[in-house]
């Protein structure tokens, strides 16, 4: 029995890693948008939902899940660009109360649009055939190849993001903007372009996460709600605008949430919030914030 306990624990750590990496895709976009644009976006979880439904619809049309991923990314970039230009650019000068309510209205409108365009049902999205097999991991517990592939894709995206943000010129502007939004203008950077880029990227990441998650979690109304809260917590723990911080915070939150669900299911939700409370006590600007 001792052995079974250990192998179960290992399997749970892997579950936590996988869940955390998915959280990172959602939270990293959110932290960049907050950090650079200083706009609160409660509808970020709805973008996750839209990505998942898009994957469901595209996979249904084309008969192949493979089209869903490029659709989610390109759809996310287009949709994000549109949202930024049409709405969020204007929300920036508004008070927090207005931003909260406007993005709350977006949640309602997105959900209603989903209801009109698709429907109100749960839908399952089939795992692509190529990855439709399982690999034994530990102690009689197997992992589907697709789940492992999602883990790898998330890791790759995380690496790519760190590379872009830390090593490129655009990344330097983003970092500068995140640290001090007023500086951007002074440095002669085109703030508009940076905002549009960040918002489009953040939207695409959330929608990609939704598409990747669709075969793992099914698609259903309000599916973004839980992720919204968790990704907010990731941003708070990771520190505003910090990609590296979001990465470690996402893994921490994913692991604690998974272990909580496994060992004390009734307290899992509270445990994650408790973690955030602890971080606020010690370092109000985020555990991984610079400086």
């Amino acid at each position: 029995m001792q052995n079974a306990g250990v192998s179960t624990f290992l399997a749970q750590l892997l579950n936590g890693l996988q869940y955390g990496l998915l959280l990172f895709l959602i939270g990293s976009g959110l932290t960049l948008i907050f950090g650079v644009m200083r706009v609160i976006n409660l509808a970020h979880g709805s973008l996750f939902m839209i990505g998942a439904y898009l994957a469901y619809v595209v996979a249904g049309w084309t008969g192949s899940f493979w089209f869903a991923l490029p659709a989610a990314i390109s759809g996310g970039i287009l949709f994000g660009t549109f949202l930024e230009a049409a709405l969020f650019r204007r929300f920036r000068d508004r008070e927090h109360l207005d931003q909260v309510l406007l993005t709350f209205a977006l949640i309602l409108i997105f959900e209603e649009a989903r209801s009109i365009l698709v429907d109100n049902q749960f839908h399952s999205v089939a795992v692509p055939e190529l990855l439709d097999f399982s690999i034994p991991i530990v102690g009689g517990f197997a992992y589907s190849a697709y789940r492992l592939a999602v883990l790898a894709v998330c890791l790759a995206v995380a690496g790519l993001m760190v590379l872009v943000v830390e090593r490129t010129n655009i990344g330097a502007s983003i970092r500068a903007a995140a640290e001090n939004p007023e500086m951007v203008g002074l440095l002669g950077l085109d703030a508009r372009r940076i905002h549009m880029l960040v918002f489009a990227a953040g939207t695409a990441l959330a929608m990609l996460a939704g598409a990747l998650a669709a075969p793992l979690q099914s698609v259903y109304p309000n599916m973004g709600d839980g992720f919204l809260i968790l990704s907010f917590i990731v941003v708070v723990i990771g520190g505003l605008g910090s990609i590296g911080g979001a990465f470690w915070a996402a893994l921490l939150v994913g692991t604690i949430d998974t272990l909580g669900k496994a060992y004390v299911p009734q307290l899992a939700g509270i445990a994650v919030c408790g973690l955030m409370a602890l971080v606020l006590l010690v370092r109000p600007s985020g555990l991984f914030a610079r400086g």
Binding site: M1, A4, G5, S7, T8, A11, Q12, N15, Q18, Y19, S115, D119, N120, Q121, F122, H123, S124, A126, V127, S134, P136, G139, G140, F141, A142, Y143, S144, Y146, R147, L216, Q217, S218, V219, Y220, P221, G226, T258, L259, K261, A262, P265, Q266, A268, G269
Partner: protein, 391 residues
């Protein structure tokens, strides 16, 4: 059959309150409030229940107990926090004489509360909270569906008979999940087997990995579960993907494979479940019902439609006994209890606590159908613990 139009409802709501409504005369049509989910996750269930109830009304020429019936639809959005206000709308604003509802087990509590307090007959066409026919039972509350305890009991009984010694139950952490776990436990116990673990996750999450990873280490011979809708689809698929399907057989309350087999695909093949209904139940009433329902709606009938239809049959039986007077709750109840309801699931009667005494069928998922294998538990009554029905 007339359905109250939006406009009439609007007029009613705006009419100055002081205008007294005429006392319910025998000649006036009887108003039945259908408080069901017409939007949100359970919308399809609500639509099937409503359509089948209307089918029953049409079959009776638009009259129950000789009295014309009008229906008032209200979307409960499956939101328990809005439930008290919604019940008030039907009772206070629309002045309905009888209630039918609902799917969500939280929302139904508000209906039960109102039915008890205001002595308006309520017919529950789905929600299986045991409380409604146990400690909260009332002469005015009737259920046409099941108690959460019943299907799971049947499943546990079958497993124990097969020689299973230890089993686990996996479910969402809410009333339906806990109550079905109790049924499973009692069913196992009836054959000398034991429920050793109950694994739960918050409703309606579908990240099952933390639960699945525990299963190999539990040392059980079988895993039973209660999930419905999208959760059921995902759980069955994830169970197979985690490599558990061939090692520890999965079974469950019938909702695990109800209406979702196509989406579950090969992962569901061979899963046994227990429910008070099954595809291809071989009786004349079922054959007629499935045809009539398909003709009326262009959809296939399912267990929810059966429950909605039987809610209509129960109301009809009661009103026949009171000659159309819904307010005579005691006579209405006596009439319903004295009637054998000729249901597509097989005829049933109501227990003293107003829950169906019904056969739970053992089904097996084969080629996208829940084939009925045979009875898992015949004429099974919910224990009805704690029900003190005033006589």
């Amino acid at each position: 059959m007339t359905q109250l139009s939006r406009r009439t409802v609007l007029g009613g709501s705006l009419a100055i309150g002081a205008l007294a409504r005429p006392a319910i005369a025998q000649g006036a049509p009887l108003k039945v409030g259908l408080m069901l989910p017409f939007s949100g996750t359970f919308a399809a269930l609500g639509e099937n229940i409503a359509a089948a109830f209307e089918l029953c009304l049409t079959e009776n020429g638009g009259k129950f107990g000789g009295r014309a019936v009008t229906l008032v639809r209200l979307d409960d959005e499956s939101d328990p926090a809005k439930a008290p206000a919604n019940v008030n709308r039907l009772l206070g604003r629309d002045n309905v004489d009888a209630l039918v509802g609902t799917v969500h087990s939280g929302v139904v509590m508000a209906l039960v509360q109102a039915a008890k307090e205001k002595e308006v007959p309520l017919f529950i066409p789905n929600a299986g909270n045991v409380a409604a026919t146990r400690d909260l039972c009332s002469p005015s509350v009737f259920r046409s569906s099941f108690s959460n305890w019943q299907p799971a009991y049947g499943m546990g009984k079958v497993l124990a008979a097969k020689g299973v010694k230890k089993a686990a139950w996996v479910t969402w952490d809410y009333a339906a999940g806990r109550e079905s776990a109790e049924g499973f436990r009692d069913g196992l116990k009836s054959g000398g087997a034991e429920l050793t673990h109950v694994l739960t996750l918050p409703f309606p999450e579908t990240n099952f990995q933390p639960l699945l990873a525990q299963i190999p280490g539990l040392g059980v011979d079988a895993v039973g579960s209660f999930f419905a809708g999208g959760g059921a689809i995902q759980f069955v698929k994830d169970y197979a993907a985690a490599g558990l399907r061939d090692k520890i057989p999965l079974c469950g309350s019938g909702f695990l494979t109800e209406g979702v087999l196509k989406a579950q695909g090969a992962a569901a093949e061979g899963i046994q479940t227990a429910l008070h209904y099954g595809d291809g139940l071989d009786n004349a009433k079922n054959k007629w019902f499935r045809e009539a329902f398909a003709k009326a709606t262009n959809r296939s009938a399912d267990v929810y439609a059966v429950q909605g239809y039987d809610a209509g049959q129960m109301l009809a039986a009661g009103l026949a006994a009171t000659k159309g007077d819904a307010a005579a709750v005691k006579a209405l109840a006596a009439g319903i209890r004295a009637t054998k309801i000729d249901s597509p699931r097989g005829a049933f009667t109501l227990s003293a606590s107003h829950n169906p005494v019904q056969t739970i069928w053992l089904r097996e998922a084969r080629n996208g159908e829940n084939k009925v294998i045979g009875p898992a538990a015949e004429a099974l009554a919910d224990p009805g613990t704690g029900c003190k029905m005033p006589v």
